[in-house]
């Protein structure tokens, strides 16, 4: 590697660096707002999940905790302060902070829709206080059965038929099958946004 001063242009032209890696470096180095934090974190969580999905054949017997630790390890390597099972009104599955910004994630292996609702309620009513720089969280749904899109569709329908205060749902622009809900948080009285993120872990090859 050359020892001369290296500009941003030099980094962009470096063949060992993918554009996404350069962008990640730049985003983390220049992050100033909660919105920028969320955009970066969502991309990093999605990349960690893509790693899990590509190794799903090895993860069939892994527990929720074991799967979540993989995501946390990925985020730590990116420079986030990320913890598993940390005390935050209870033992939250995924705790992430960077600078003054915070995000909490609850992770569930899909067993039933009541179990997913339990995770959503834990996130929204136990762990998250819904404050300004903690107004977004995530429900990570590990789906080991087939047809994940059907699971997400049904989960969204059940969430919408509940009694959440001023609930709205929208498609997630950055990840197919994921969706975003927003409702009035009971503690803060302000809106709390949850990104519902399916992780496709079904593995049943039929080639032999």
């Amino acid at each position: 590697m050359s020892l001369r001063k290296l500009s941003l242009e030099d980094l962009m032209q470096d063949k060992s660096l993918l554009p996404e890696q350069f962008q990640s470096f730049l985003d983390m180095a220049t992050m100033e707002s909660y919105e920028e934090f969320l955009n970066r974190l969502n991309a990093d969580v999605d990349a960690a999940i893509a790693d899990l999905e590509s190794n799903r054949h090895l993860l069939q017997n892994d527990s929720e905790d074991r799967l979540s630790v993989n995501i946390i390890s990925y985020l730590k390597a990116k420079g986030y302060n990320a913890y598993h099972d940390v005390q935050h009104g209870g033992h939250v599955d995924i705790y992430v902070d960077f600078k003054k910004f915070k995000w909490l994630g609850e992770a569930k292996i899909h067993k039933s829709y009541d179990y997913l609702m339990q995770g959503f309620d834990q996130l929204c009513t136990r762990y998250a206080e819904g404050a300004d720089l903690n107004s977004h969280g995530g429900l990570i749904i590990y789906i080991k059965i087939s047809k994940a899109a059907d699971v997400v569709f049904e989960w969204k329908k059940r969430l919408e038929s509940g009694s959440l205060d001023e609930l709205t749902t929208t498609e997630c622009k950055s990840k197919p099958n994921a969706f975003v809900s927003c409702h009035k948080h009971s503690t803060s009285g302000t809106f709390y946004t949850v990104r519902h993120i399916p992780v496709l872990l079904h593995f049943k090859p039929e080639d032999r």
């Binding site: 001063k5 290296l6 941003l8 060992s16």
Partner: protein, 139 residues
């Protein structure tokens, strides 16, 4: 009771070993960087470029890995380094840039010269990341 420098370094290296594994190139590079900044006066390490940092790393690494390590060491978990950006113009004058300036320049390709106000062509060629130690972590 505040920790000694040796204890702070030891704690940092334990965290890094937990995160990357002691036999990883990331651990090796990060420990070389920490060793360098903890064994020099602040003034000597207050303005490190990518080139000067790569010089203290004892193993051969690509830019991808160097940037990965620097992003990790500058993050909220380890907090060893602080990254900032500076503009060096054609006359070799140096100006500190804000995060907003850097984002705007990389997004739009436009950056006004901090002193003269004129637009700088191809600003990414004139913007350089620089690193300084975070005093509370290692000094």
């Amino acid at each position: 009771m505040s920790l000694s420098l040796n204890d702070k370094v030891k704690n940092l290296l334990e965290l890094i070993a937990d995160d990357w594994g002691e036999s990883s190139p990331q651990y090796s590079a990060c420990s070389d960087i920490i060793d360098y900044i903890s064994s020099n006066n602040y003034e000597q390490v207050a303005h490190m470029t990518l080139g000067s940092i790569s010089k203290v790393i004892s193993i051969e690494i690509e830019m991808k890995l160097l940037l990965e390590c620097l992003q990790y060491l500058s993050g909220s978990r380890i907090k060893v380094l602080k990254v900032s950006f500076e503009l060096i113009d054609d006359e070799d004058n140096c100006f500190a840039l804000s995060s907003s300036d850097v984002k705007e320049a990389t997004k739009t390709g436009k950056l006004a010269h901090p002193e003269f106000g004129c637009l700088i062509p191809e600003p990414s060629k004139h913007i350089f990341p620089v690193y300084s130690p975070r005093l509370e972590s290692v000094n």
